[in-house]
C-alpha cells in the first residue's frame, strides 16, 4: 500500500510537518532517525522558543511536538532510513530490508555536529571525546577538559561544563572568537574558562581503556606543537547536513545542503520536499525549522491535490 506522505526526521521541522500533514488527513509516517526529537534533545534550556516565557528544556519541548503530531494520527517510528529511490513513482524508502512506497516525501533530517576528522577522535568517541556537553559533562567532575570551537554554542557549552569540570580550555584557531559579544563576555569572565588562541588539535591521546589522557596542540601561526594532559575533549565546531542518503537523488549544494526552490520547500524532484537544518545553514533555529516544516506540509498537500 502506498503512503500519502513519508516524513524522514523528527526534529522541529519533521514533527511540525507531521502535525500539519496529519491534520490534512495525509496519515503521515515519520521515521525518527537515530536521534528522535533531533538536536534539541541534547540541549538544556531553550529560552527563545515563543510561547514558553520561562524557557523549556529541549527534550521536553520535543516530547510536546511528538505528542501533538501523534494526537492527529501521525505514526512515528524510531527507525533510520538507509536508502531512497526518487527516480520513479511511487517513491521508495528503505529501512534496512523493509521497503516503503509513498506518493510524496518530506526530508527533515537536520544536521549533526561536525568532528575534527582525526582517527584518534573516532576511536575515543564516548571515551573522553564528546559532541554533547549536556549529555556527558556530568562525567567530568573536577576534571580538566578542552572545548573546541569559537561560536555561541562553544561558549554556551564551555560555561555549562564549568558546573562540573575544574578547568575548561577553549581551543580556537584564530585570535578572536566568532561568538556574540554577550556569550564571549559570559565565557571569558568565568574564572574556570581559559582560551588557547591560534591553536588546533593535531592529535588526541589515550586508549579505549584509559579514555582521553591528553592532546597535541598546534600553533596556527608558527606550527609549533605542544602536548597537554586532559580528561575530556568536547566539540562545537559547527554542523554538517544529514543528506548523505539523498546524494544523487535530489540536488545538493557544494557542502551537502539540499537545494530548495523559489522560496518554497520543493527540491529538484517533484513530490519530494525538504525543510529544516538539512536545507538551512543560515538561521538554524528551532522556530525557523518548525516554520519550514509547516511550509513543507502545505507544499506537499498542494502537490498531492494536483496529482489527484
Amino acid at each position: 500500500m502506498n503512503r500519502e506522505v513519508i516524513i524522514i526526521g523528527s526534529g522541529p521541522a519533521g514533527l511540525t510537518a507531521a502535525i500539519y500533514a496529519a491534520r490534512a488527513n495525509l496519515n503521515p509516517l515519520v521515521f525518527e532517525g537515530n536521534q528522535p526529537g533531533g538536536q534539541l534533545t541534547i540541549t538544556t534550556d531553550v529560552e527563545n522558543y515563543p510561547g514558553f516565557p520561562d524557557g523549556i528544556m529541549g527534550p521536553d519541548l520535543m516530547d510536546l511536538f511528538r505528542d501533538q503530531a501523534k494526537r492527529f494520527g501521525s505514526e512515528c517510528y524510531f527507525k533510520s532510513v538507509t536508502k531512497v529511490d526518487f527516480s520513479s513513482h511511487p517513491f521508495k524508502v528503505w529501512v534496512g530490508e523493509e521497503e516503503y512506497a509513498s506518493n510524496s516525501v518530506i526530508i527533515a533530517t537536520g544536521a549533526s555536529a561536525k568532528l575534527l576528522g582525526l582517527e584518534s577522535e573516532t576511536k575515543l568517541m564516548g571515551h573522553g571525546v564528546s559532541a554533547c556537553a549536556t549529555c556527558d559533562g556530568f562525567f567530568y567532575k573536577d576534571k580538566k577538559v578542552y572545548m573546541v570551537g569559537g561560536g555561541d554554542s562553544a561558549m554556551e557549552e564551555a560555561i555549562f561544563l564549568t558546573k562540573f569540570a575544574s578547568e575548561v580550555i577553549i581551543v580556537h584557531r584564530r585570535d578572536e572568537l566568532r561568538a556574540s559579544k554577550i556569550m564571549q563576555e559570559r565565557a571569558l569572565n568565568n574564572p574556570k574558562i581559559k582560551v588557547a588562541w591560534n591553536s588546533t588539535i593535531k592529535e588526541i591521546h589515550g586508549t579505549e581503556e584509559t579514555g582521553v589522557t591528553g592532546l597535541t596542540l598546534e600553533d596556527t601561526n608558527t606550527s609549533d606543537t605542544r602536548e597537554e594532559s586532559c580528561d575530556g575533549i568536547f566539540m562545537a565546531i559547527g554542523h554538517n547536513p544529514n543528506s548523505g542518503v539523498f546524494k544523487g537523488q535530489v540536488d545538493l549544494d557544494d557542502v551537502g545542503y539540499i537545494v530548495t526552490q523559489n522560496g518554497s520547500t520543493a527540491t529538484s524532484v517533484k513530490g519530494v520536499f525538504a525543510c529544516g537544518d538539512v536545507t538551512d545553514h543560515v538561521y538554524r533555529q528551532a522556530i525557523t525549522a518548525a516554520g519550514l516544516g509547516c511550509m513543507a506540509a502545505i507544499d506537499t498537500e498542494k502537490y498531492l491535490e494536483a496529482q489527484n
Binding site: 536521534q35 526529537g37 534533545t41 541534547i42 524510531f78 564516548g126 571515551h127 554533547c132 556530568f138 575530556g232
Partner: protein
Amino acid sequence: MADNVAELKKDNFDVEVVQSEVPVLVDFWAEWCGPCKAIAPVVEEIATEYEGKVKVGKVNVDENQELSLQFGVRSIPTLLIFKDGKVANQVIGAVPKTNITQLLDQSI
C-alpha cells in the same frame, strides 16, 4: 521501570550481571539525558523479546558513579553487553534497535 528490567546497583551488580548464566544488556542512563529517554523504550522492548535468553538491567549513573567509573562510561546512553562476566560489546549513544539486537545475537 518494566518488570523484566532489573535496577542494577553496586550491591547487586556482581550477582545479577557478572555471575549471570545468560548474557546481560546493561543500560547506563540518567534522568536528565534526552538520548537516554529515546532509547529507554527500545531497551524495554528488547527485554520482552529476549526474555529467557538475555537479561536486561539499567544503571542510573547519578546514583552509581562507582559503576560508571569501573566500566569507563563517559557518555550516556552507553549499553554494555556482558557475556560470562565480561564486557563483550558496547553501544554508545541512542541507536536504532537493530544495531543493538545484532550485537546481542552475536552474544547468545
